[in-house]
Symmetry: C2
Subunit: 248 residues, 2 copies
């Protein structure tokens, strides 16, 4: 499994991915799932991947081949970030179809999902979730985040706290909290984590690898634990009257 998330804030974009891959519980690996491409100074793309590892690697190889061969359609030629999403979606869908029959004979699924984000100069930055079928959706204005992979465990934090006006530093904390609670619940999601911070119109990315034994992660976990246990302590109890009534 995998967990990747991205946020679209007024200040910019945030991307966070785990690195764990698995083919069964006895075959665990570590692979980057957050990839950066800047084919020209006027454009920057971040690509996060979930699903079949073979498909995601082939899609990245095809992307790079199209870039180096000067293909008519590539990350260097698309005019909008949404066109990059469609282009990646087409490569992904074609790759999955290429291997579908062979994978089906062993009961495997060759599909992949992507989050594609970034900016092309003169246009606003944005993030897109690209489905295995090649189509995409943009993050909503009300809850401006996207997730792929194991999305359920860490959704609560995002829904509660991610709004466009949240500053990028706070949003980074929320993202990591969502990641840590997912990794806590699902062994197939795990560190190290790759984070990328993009400030609107900078056309430059700050990348950060968060190591498994990081004291920073330990501190985040401990602050969460302390506050959640304290919150439970402050929750109201059911009154004796309500218990006697059988209804509240």
């Amino acid at each position: 499994m995998t967990y990747c998330l991205a946020m679209r804030l007024d200040e910019g974009l945030i991307f966070l991915s785990d690195t764990r891959t698995n083919a069964g519980v006895d075959n665990i690996g570590t692979y980057r799932k957050l990839h950066v491409r800047q084919p020209a100074p006027d454009r920057l793309f971040v690509i996060q991947s979930a699903g079949n590892l073979g498909t995601t690697q082939q899609v990245l190889d095809l992307l790079d081949r199209d870039l180096s061969s000067g293909a008519a359609e590539s990350l260097a030629t698309v005019g909008h970030v949404f066109e990059a999403a469609l282009y990646i979606g087409r490569l992904s869908q074609q790759t999955a179809v290429q291997h579908r029959d062979a994978l089906r004979t062993v009961g495997a699924d060759g599909t992949a999902s992507f989050i594609v984000g970034g900016q092309i100069a003169g246009q606003p930055p944005d993030i897109y979730l690209v489905y295995p079928e090649g189509n995409y959706i943009r993050a909503s204005d009300d809850l401006p985040f996207l997730q792929i992979g194991e999305t359920k465990y860490g959704k609560f934090f995002l829904e509660l706290a991610v709004r466009a006006e949240v500053d990028i530093v706070t949003a980074g904390k929320i993202a990591l909290s969502s990641m840590i609670s997912t990794a806590h619940a699902n062994l197939s999601v795990g560190p190290p984590y790759d984070a990328a911070f993009y400030r609107t119109d900078s056309l430059a990315l700050t990348e950060l690898r968060i190591e498994p034994d990081s004291p920073y992660v330990a501190e985040i976990q401990s602050v969460w634990q302390r506050h959640l246990l304290e919150a439970i302590h402050h929750l109201p109890a059911v009154s004796a009257e309500a218990l006697a009534d059988g209804s509240i």
Copy 2:
């Protein structure tokens, strides 16, 4: 969908279930999923159900028929709570098999899962998760809770806070927090909620229905929101040095 959870504490047992059922998003209903049977003063059972509504209703009807007909095997005759779990599992598995071929023609799944808990006098109380195949597992000693239905969204709270030594009042707050965060994330889980509190060796149950418009639920939500947002505020930020290094 459905969300039911149960806890086994030193003080006793807690059960909490939602009531929402759905056959597609345009067919939403409200059904009890927490059922109590006390066929004799020396024994008390709580049965929570998830999965096919037809199957869960038929299982309960069969249970009651076996009780009223004085069958050789019934909730009145089993010698241990684990035998009640096996008995319910057998009824569930047989009911699913009875309807399997017909349901398969319309692509429907007739299976159900149950949580069976309670006490028979002279033995310790316990809770069991009964799989559609009829076998069961007991809650672990380290994390003494069980869930059925939509289990992922609300697991974080339980893993963090549910320990055998937690008092029953606090555990009730944790259970409701887990339920509320699940209902928040998944429209197919929703109020009213049915709760049941069982104190060890009491052989009597306190039941509580928590209504959708309950000020109690609103207060729990608001306390959570306040504390979580405050916790985010207290989380450490990534240092400028770590960002410059690209690693933390």
